[in-house]
């Protein structure tokens, strides 16, 4: 979030803002925001130069569709991570929501699609409420709590599903079409998720409660002493993350059509990777949902690009891992530069 910390810092150092370091800070944030986009554009440019088929409509559609689900999950995850928590249960929530919602079509013939979406989101809200309540009220680390709910929710999913599965033929055509229809070559789902991400970005940037998530992530204790209802905010971020994972489950079901008890297994670490590659600090306090979405898009683009280039798909894991480590290192470097820039600035501000 290009403005996030900057605003906070302006507030912290009072009205006496010195022009030069401020520009420096802005520039750094611009690097942070543009870094990921530059890598993405560079990657697409090189790949397209080598293989023209890369930007074919069909290919772009697949990349966008695959990235959409991770970008959606990354939206919820970002809200949790900026407040210095983590939600590892998103993959399990996606799985259980995908199965239960898709199964509704078989159980209740002619059930309206919006109701199915509502059920999926409701399942996510329930899971998020459990995560949030235990983390915020119990004051126990979210890493442990959501690791536990990752197991529990997946276990419940397995108990419900058993060996069964929902197959695409049991789903109404209009539901399956959700994952297929496009507007000017861009999948409808992607557009809808982009709107959601924009809304999320606006919320984190401009709403008081959104700003407070950054404050909590920067320094939980200071945030609490400043009168921010930290427990309430953290609780809400988990509920939101759960709701979004529930929604992602329904989208997943529409896109893939076949749902069994393994849907979304292992997604949690990919989502956290996307968020971190997108420039969200793992220990909270900075980063944006837009960056996280681009992180998801970048990971997906790399997968497809390697495939299109005829580089063995065996390489993408390693390249993704390498990129992730580069992103973390770069992010750390930027943070250090920023901190020293702020330190230089503060005596004059006071």
């Amino acid at each position: 979030m290009s403005l996030s910390l900057h605003r906070q810092d302006t507030a912290a150092s009072g009205s006496a803002v010195v022009e030069n370091p401020r520009r420096l800070v802005d520039t750094i944030f611009r690097i942070r925001e543009f870094g990921i986009i530059a890598v993405l554009v560079g990657f697409v440019a090189i790949t397209t130069a080598l293989q023209h088929r890369f930007l074919e409509a069909q290919n772009v559609k697949f990349i966008l569709l695959d990235a959409t689900i991770f970008a959606l999950l990354a939206l919820g995850e970002t809200m949790v991570v900026v407040s210095r928590e983590v939600d590892l249960s998103v993959g399990s929530v996606l799985g259980i929501s995908a199965y239960i919602s898709a199964n509704l079509f078989g159980q209740f013939h002619g059930i309206p699609i919006p109701l199915v979406f509502a059920v999926g989101i409701a399942i996510g809200v329930v899971c998020g409420t459990v995560n949030g309540a235990i983390t915020a009220v119990g004051r126990v680390p979210s890493l442990v709590v959501t690791l536990a709910t990752l197991y529990i929710i997946r276990g419940i999913d397995v108990l419900i599903v058993g060996g069964g599965q929902v197959v695409v033929s049991s789903l109404p055509d209009s539901f399956v079409a959700i994952g297929q229809s496009t507007l000017a070559g861009i999948p409808d789902v992607t557009i809808a998720v982009a709107v959601l991400i924009a809304a999320g970005a606006y919320y984190l940037r401009s709403f008081r409660s959104g700003r407070e998530l950054y404050a909590i992530g920067s320094n939980p204790e200071a945030a609490r002493l400043a009168g921010i209802p930290t427990a309430k905010r953290i609780f809400t971020s988990f509920v939101l993350s759960g709701a979004i994972a529930g929604l992602a489950g329904v989208v997943w079901a529409a896109y893939y059509g076949t749902v069994d008890s393994t849907a979304g297994t292992g997604y949690e670490l990919t989502v956290v990777s996307a968020v971190v590659v997108g420039g969200v600090a793992i220990f909270g306090g900075s980063g944006s949902v837009v960056g996280a979405a681009f992180g998801a898009l970048l990971l997906e683009t790399i997968n497809t690009a390697l495939y299109v280039l005829g580089i063995s798909a065996f390489w993408d894991q390693a390249i993704a891992g390498f990129l992730l480590i580069c992103a973390i290192t770069l992010d750390h470097g930027i943070t250090l530069t920023l901190t020293s820039a702020l330190r230089r600035r503060s005596p004059r501000g006071a």
Partner: protein, 375 residues
């Protein structure tokens, strides 16, 4: 509200200092944070006896757990305690239990290593690759162990010398090491290992009913237990995890010790990879995928604090036993084995909630009270 804020500010806590420095036990112990913050056990009860009591309570809880699972196991099947079942139990959980041992040290020092399963997988790929290229098995094993040392070293250097958060770094190396494994072996499956070696993976250790992996686990548990609880290095590990700054000021070689722990983790996970490959007599690129969270679960269930600075080796050994026995007992019943997660997850939640049960009850009561009589 104003009254509350004032009361919370009383301990004289500076707003911008590290959360680790706060006085716990007060309302100000806000432990929001994944790996930072304060576990109320470490400083809340400065008296050694109080702390010991708290730890003992968790370990005795685990002992009760073990007993309960044993009773359950015996009641569902008379074969539960048979020697062949004991062997099975050790075989199916040997590798993750072994990986939990160095993980315990890493977590107590305040870090985490999520790349353990990928290290296992990569060593399995390497074994397959080198075997295809005609290397002798002893040479392969040595090479793989050295590779584990390097992989752990990379984690350690990134965490200590670059100052990066281990949670993020090891998610990165999780993907990277797995990716390298895929490059090394591709879609090839190697399974023509001589029986002399694969027997190690499935047979009992000579003169016992225990699997090789169980024996190695027990030996390593004793070694690591002594290292952690009876040496200077072990005390340093606790000190670093409890308060890193203080440990640095006390002259401890924080970076060196942490790097050492990551290296140890790498080597032990590579060894687990050897055992895993022999047990399945197969080297494949996706061996061990996803096991990292099981390993973390065993460590946390063993009463090790995710914030570092707290935990015992005996707790983790008991926890590994509970983990293996529950899985085995459920396997013998008609209960779907995949739903094991519900039990493990519940135990995991209990492991973090139980130690703060009383505190929690007070808080809920307080919250309810303030709802009823708003001031």
């Amino acid at each position: 509200m104003a009254r509350e804020v004032g009361a919370q500010a009383l301990p004289g806590v500076a707003g911008d200092s590290e959360a680790e420095l706060y006085v716990p036990g007060e309302k100000s112990t806000r432990t929001s944070g994944m790996l930072t913050g304060q576990s109320s056990g470490t400083v809340a009860k400065p008296s050694g006896a109080g702390r010991l009591r708290g730890l003992l309570r968790w370990e005795s809880g685990l002992v009760l757990c073990v007993v309960a699972v044993l009773v359950l196991g015996i009641s569902v099947s008379p074969a539960f305690l048979s020697s062949s079942n004991l062997l099975n139990m050790g075989l199916s959980n040997g590798e993750i239990s072994i990986m939990a041992l160095p993980m315990t040290l890493v977590v107590i020092s305040g870090e985490i290593d999520l790349s353990v399963a990928s290290t296992l997988g990569l060593s399995s790929s390497m074994i397959g690759y080198l075997w295809l290229h005609g290397w002798p098995m002893p040479g392969i094993i040595v090479t793989v162990l050295v590779m584990g040392l390097v992989l752990g070293g990379v984690n350690g250097i990134l965490v200590t010398r670059f100052g990066l958060p281990s949670l993020a770094v090891t998610i990165g190396t999780l993907t990277l090491y797995q990716g390298v494994g895929i490059i090394v072996l591709g879609s090839t499956t190697v399974s023509n290992f001589p029986a002399r070696y694969t027997n190690i993976g499935i047979n009992a250790f000579p003169h016992t009913d225990l699997s090789w992996s169980t024996v190695i686990f027990l030996v390593l548990a004793v070694v690591f237990g002594v290292l952690l609880h009876a040496t200077k290095v072990g005390r340093s590990i606790f000190a670093i995890g409890a308060n890193r700054e203080a440990a640095i000021y006390a002259g401890m070689r924080v970076k060196r010790i942490k790097t050492g722990l990551f290296v140890l983790s790498g080597v032990v996970c590579a060894l687990a990879g050897v055992l895993y490959t022999f047990r399945l007599s197969t080297a494949e690129y996706d061996n061990g995928t996803g096991l990292e969270l099981n390993v973390v679960a065993i460590v946390l269930l063993g009463g090790v604090s995710i914030f570092g600075g707290k935990g015992t080796m005996i707790g983790v050994v008991l926890s590994a036993l509970v983990f293996a026995a529950i899985q085995n007992a459920l396997f013998l019943t008609s209960f779907p084995q995949e739903a094991l997660g519900v039990v493990i997850g519940a135990l995991l939640l209990a492991s973090v909630l139980a130690p703060k049960g009383g505190e929690l009850l007070d808080r809920v009561r307080h919250a309810l009270g303030s709802v009823r009589s708003p001031t």
